[in-house]
C-alpha cells in the first residue's frame, strides 16, 4: 500500500498533509505522534473511509484490510456476546442470521487461537482487558486479512495486557509456516513500552517526520519536531529509551510547595 503526497481534511483545513508512506507485505509498522496529530485520520485514509483531497492511496489489487478500533471507543454495555461480535463481520446468508455449524467452527477456531476458547457465549463486558482487545482482533482475523490496522491497541491497558497483545501481533506478523505473515500497522502513544520494540517506526505529526528503525527515528531532533517538546534519548541494552526533558524543573516546583 502506498500513500503518495496525500492530504486529507474533514471539510476545513487539512488534518494531514503531503503524506508519503509505503507499507509492504509482511511489514510491522508503528506510527507514533501526539494526540490530535492526525494518526487516526491517516489510518482512515489507508482504510479508505476518508478520501484524500490531494494525492492518492494505492492499494495492491485484492489487498484485504481489517481494522481493529480503539477499545475505548467500544460500547461495553451493548448486548453482544463474543460469538456475535466475531460473526457480525461475516457475510450473511439470505434470511439466516444465525451462524451455521461450519461458520461456528470457524469462529471457535479463531477464538481458540487467540486464547479465547470457550468464551463464545460470554458477554463482552465479562472479559479481562486483554481478552476484550483480542475479541476485536478475532473479528478482524476472521476476515483473513493481508494487512491489519490497529488504532492504539495498547491505550488504557495494563502492562500485562500490553505484552499479551504484542505477542499475539508478533505471532500474526511472523512469516509462515510459524505465523501468518500479516502486515501490521498500528498507532501508539507508548514510545518505550511499544514503539521501541518494533522493526519500523514512523514519527507523525500532520505529516511524516521520520521513518525508519527505532534507532534511526528515536532521535531528539525528530522527537522534538513530532511532539513539540524537547526529549532526551538514552540507550539501554541496545534499545533507545525516550525521556521527557524539563522533568527536573517541574519536580523542583512541585516539591518546593511541600517543603515550605
Amino acid at each position: 500500500m502506498t500513500c503518495e503526497h496525500m492530504s486529507c481534511s474533514y471539510g476545513g483545513a487539512p488534518v494531514i498533509e503531503g503524506v508519503d508512506l509505503t507499507i509492504r507485505q509482511g511489514e510491522f509498522v508503528g506510527i507514533v505522534g501526539p494526540s490530535g496529530s492526525g494518526k487516526t485520520t491517516l489510518l482512515r485514509a489507508m482504510l479508505g473511509s476518508v478520501k484524500p483531497v490531494h494525492g492518492s492511496v494505492t492499494r495492491q489489487a485484492g489487498l484485504r484490510l481489517a481494522y481493529v478500533p480503539q477499545v475505548e471507543t467500544v460500547d461495553w454495555n451493548f448486548p453482544v456476546t463474543v460469538g456475535e461480535v466475531v460473526g457480525m463481520s461475516r457475510p450473511q446468508r439470505l434470511m439466516r442470521p444465525k451462524s451455521a455449524r461450519s461458520e461456528l467452527t470457524l469462529i471457535e477456531d479463531v477464538l481458540e487461537r487467540l486464547g479465547l476458547g470457550g468464551l463464545v457465549q460470554r458477554h463482552i463486558r465479562e472479559l479481562s482487558g486483554g481478552q476484550q482487545q483480542r475479541v476485536f482482533l478475532a473479528r478482524a482475523l476472521i476476515q483473513k486479512p493481508d494487512m491489519l490496522i490497529l488504532d492504539e491497541p495498547t491505550a488504557g491497558v495494563d502492562v500485562r495486557t500490553r505484552h499479551e497483545v504484542l505477542h499475539v501481533l508478533a505471532d500474526l506478523n511472523e512469516s509462515p509456516p510459524h505465523g501468518d505473515g500479516i502486515a501490521i500497522v498500528l498507532t501508539t502513544h507508548d514510545l518505550n513500552g511499544l514503539a521501541s520494540h518494533l522493526p519500523r517506526l514512523v514519527c507523525f505529526n500532520r505529516t511524516v517526520i521520520a521513518d525508519g528503525s527505532p534507532a534511526e527515528v528515536l532521535q531528539p531532533y525528530f522527537l522534538e519536531r513530532t511532539y513539540g517538546a524537547p526529549m532526551e534519548v538514552l540507550q539501554h541494552g541496545g534499545m533507545p529509551i525516550v525521556l521527557e526533558q524539563g522533568g527536573d524543573e517541574l519536580r523542583n516546583r512541585l516539591n518546593r510547595g511541600t517543603a515550605s
Binding site: L47, G48, S49, L65, A66, Y67, V68, P69, T73, V74, D75, F78, P79, V80, T81, E84, V85, G87, M88, S89, R90, P91, Q92, L94, M95, P97, K98, Q121, H123, R125, E126, R139, Q143
Partner: protein, 283 residues
C-alpha cells in the same frame, strides 16, 4: 363457571377482539423496532416523530384527507426538515427535533381548538383509541410488522454491525448511511401505523419499555431481538385486557403493565448482580 364466563365475556364483542389483536400486534412491532431505538439512542427521534405525526393527523382530519396520507406526508416532511436543519450544524439535531416537532404538535393543537368537529379523531391520535379500530388498521400494523421482521432478519448482521460499531462496519463494506435510512423508514412507518392505537403521548414509552426490559433479561443481541417483541406483545395484549375491567384508557394500562414488568426485571437483575458480586452465583 360463572367466573370463567365472566373472564371470557369481553371476547364476545368484536370491537374488543379487534382491539386486542391490534394492541398485541402494535406491542410486538414497537418491541421489535424498539431494540434499535434503545441501542442507537433514537428514543428522542421516536418521541419527536410521533408529535410530528400528530400535526399531520390533525391537518388530515381538518382537510378530510386519509390519515395515512396526511400524517405520513407530514411525518416525512418533518424528518427531512430535521435532517436539513441539523446538517447545517448551527443547532444540534436534538434541538432541531425539538423545534420542528413541537411546532408540528402545536399546529395540531391549534387546529383541534379551531375546528372542533374534527376533535374525535384528533383525540384518538393524542391518547390512542384501541376500541375504534378498523380492519384496515389491523392490516396496516400487520403489514408494517411483517415488513420490519423481514428487513431486520434479512439485514441482521449489517444492522447489528452498523449499530454496534459504525466505523469498523463502514470499513468492512457495510453501508452505514443505508442502514440508518432503513431503520428511520421502519421507525417512521411503525409510528404512523401504531400512533392511533397507542397515542402520541405514550408511543415513545412503548418503543422503549419492551426493549429495555429485554435488555435486562439478556446480554445477547440475537435473543434481545426476539424477546423484545414478545414482551411488547404481552404488554399490549395484557394491558388491553385489563383496561376492559379497569375502565381506564388502554394506552395507559399497556404502558403501566410494561412498567411493572420492567421494575420487576430491574429489581431481579439488581439481586442477581449483587449475588454475583458476593460470589454466590458461580457460572
Amino acid at each position: 363457571m360463572i367466573i370463567a364466563v365472566d373472564l371470557l365475556k369481553p371476547f364476545s364483542y368484536e370491537f374488543f377482539r379487534n382491539g386486542l389483536i391490534i394492541a398485541t400486534l402494535a406491542g410486538a412491532l414497537c418491541g421489535l423496532i424498539g431494540v434499535f431505538v434503545v441501542l442507537r439512542g433514537m428514543s428522542y427521534i421516536g418521541h419527536g416523530l410521533s408529535h410530528a405525526v400528530f400535526g399531520g393527523a390533525a391537518l388530515a382530519a381538518v382537510l378530510n384527507l386519509n390519515y395515512f396520507i396526511g400524517a405520513g406526508f407530514w411525518g416525512l416532511a418533518s424528518g427531512l426538515m430535521i435532517g436539513r436543519v441539523s446538517r447545517k450544524r448551527i443547532i444540534g439535531a436534538d434541538a432541531a427535533i425539538g423545534v420542528i416537532t413541537t411546532a408540528s404538535f402545536a399546529m395540531g393543537l391549534a387546529l383541534q381548538a379551531r375546528f372542533g368537529q374534527a376533535k374525535r379523531s384528533i383525540d384518538a391520535v393524542l391518547f390512542g383509541n384501541v376500541l375504534g379500530v378498523f380492519t384496515s388498521d389491523i392490516l396496516a400494523v400487520a403489514g408494517v410488522g411483517i415488513l420490519s421482521a423481514v428487513v431486520i432478519v434479512g439485514l441482521y448482521r449489517k444492522l447489528l454491525f452498523a449499530t454496534f460499531d459504525p466505523e469498523v462496519a463502514g470499513v468492512s463494506g457495510v453501508s452505514v448511511p443505508a442502514m440508518e435510512a432503513v431503520l428511520m423508514v421502519l421507525l417512521s412507518a411503525t409510528i404512523l401505523v401504531t400512533v392511533r392505537v397507542i397515542g402520541v403521548l405514550l408511543i415513545s414509552a412503548l418503543l422503549v419499555l419492551p426493549a429495555v426490559t429485554a435488555r435486562l433479561m439478556t446480554n445477547s443481541f440475537g435473543r434481545m431481538l426476539w424477546l423484545s417483541p414478545v414482551l411488547g406483545a404481552i404488554f399490549g395484549g395484557v394491558g388491553m385486557y385489563i383496561s376492559w375491567y379497569a375502565d381506564v384508557p388502554s394506552g395507559a394500562v399497556i404502558i403501566l403493565a410494561g412498567t411493572l414488568v420492567f421494575i420487576a426485571a430491574y429489581s431481579a437483575v439488581g439481586v442477581r448482580r449483587r449475588a454475583q458480586l458476593a460470589g454466590i452465583n458461580h457460572h
